[in-house]
Amino acid sequence: MNETLYYSLVIAGVLITLLTIAAGNIYIERRLLSVWQDRLGPNRVGPFGLLQVVADIIKIFTKEDWIPRFADRVVFVLAPAIILITILITFAIIPFSPDIVVADLNIGLLFFLGLSSLGAYSLVLGGWASNNKYSLLGAMRGAAQMLSYEVFMGLSLMGVVMMTGSFSMVDIVEAQKNVWFVIPQFAGFVIFLIAGLAESHRIPFDIPESESELIAGFHSEYSGMKFGMFFVGEYLAITLISALVTTLFFGGWLGPDFLPPLAWFTIKVFAFIAFIILLRAALPRPRYDQLLGFGWKILLPLSLINILVTGAILLSK
């Protein structure tokens, strides 16, 4: 097949699938949360309530899109787009199967780390442009949280990179043919998962939002589709974290032959999405200083020790 056409198809396919998954996640989350909280959840619109998401999308698109008079217009409009764009671009490096990867970069993993640091701008600028004290507090908490957890996120992945000897995501998956990295790099996996949750500011780490104290924090002033973009960005972020955990620690598309590689990848990703939703149902939100203290005092030394031990073992081989 013509190579340009093939890549165009891959890009379009990945984009459409991702946006569908992001919308589907909303349904999955609401239903799973209801199961765990002993209620039914959305079950009236369409079969099993599946069309509830469609109804929600139509509603959010037709809502009044209000920009506060006291807001900084340009920055206010740009902020929600940043989070959506950076997360969507990051998916370019994820190998969905041996054939389906938008760009197998030599520096794939670094590309992800670089772009994930951009996500902080969305919060900071959104909160600042709203010109609202609660939003500003949320934005500052978000900046401190994301800046700190970026550090541990990068460090936790270095063990994987050292064992593979490459930053390319395809190489990392192929290096896991014998044993998935979750076994030799268990500490790295746990730190990455925690840091990933903090980066996507999901409950339990939704401190920038914390509606009970900050009234939805950085996006208090947002309405209509701009709020929708923050919302979709959050669901894309948990999909991204799940996809990365799968690729880096759980062998990506690898699995027994009776299912195609893409199916294995999808199963693993959805298992992690469900796990993250379970965390939301199960855990309370920590206090702000507890979160940062935990990061700098426990996760940072742990990830440094992890790198040291991995390096020592690799050298002695």
């Binding site: 030599n106 670089g114 701008y121 600028l125 600042w128 800046l147 970026e150 990068g154």
Partner: protein, 167 residues
């Protein structure tokens, strides 16, 4: 014009235009925000020079670290304490000196640009530079590498010391 030339002019224009916004805007927050795009343009130029590692480091350190800290600092001072941080007016003497320096630097640059011979390197396929940079840093340039890390360590300890002094 091929695609690389177009990309070069795009990234150059991005860097220069947003760099100009940084200098000329009155709103210091907008200046910080424009710096984001200027850094992006520079990262793009690094990619065009086949320096992939340098480009992503540019994004991670300058955009992901330093610029967030700048915005953080500006945000804390303007909106919470109520102090209006704007770029101040400058006097005539300052403008004169700055103008003189600018003309001098521009003249030097233009002179260098027009007198030196520009060799075009053969454009090689994009190879990963991570390995080479890592090897070079830990062999030939080990002393500089260690000195830089010592400097950063001293800076961290110093910052922590200053932050703790009040308690």
């Amino acid at each position: 014009m091929d695609l690389i030339t177009i990309a070069f002019y795009f990234f150059s224009a991005l860097t220069i235009v947003f760099g100009a916004v940084v200098v000329f805007t009155k709103n210091i927050m907008h200046a910080a925000f424009s710096l984001l795009f200027a850094f992006f343009g520079i990262a793009g130029l690094y990619v065009l020079l086949s320096a992939d590692f340098l480009a992503i480091t540019q994004i991670m350190i300058y955009i992901g670290g330093i610029l967030v800290l700048i915005i953080f600092g500006v945000m804390l001072t303007t909106r919470i304490t109520g102090v209006d941080v704007k770029t101040g007016k400058i006097g005539k003497i300052q403008i004169g000196i700055a103008g003189l320096l600018t003309v001098l630097i521009a003249a030097t640059l233009i002179m260098i640009f027009s007198t030196s011979k520009w060799y075009l390197a053969d454009s090689k396929p994009l190879d990963s530079t991570v390995n080479e940079i890592g090897t070079a840093l830990l062999t030939n340039y080990l002393l500089a590498f260690e000195a830089a890390s010592m400097l950063l360590l001293i800076a961290i300890v110093g910052a922590a010391f200053i932050a703790r002094k009040k308690h």
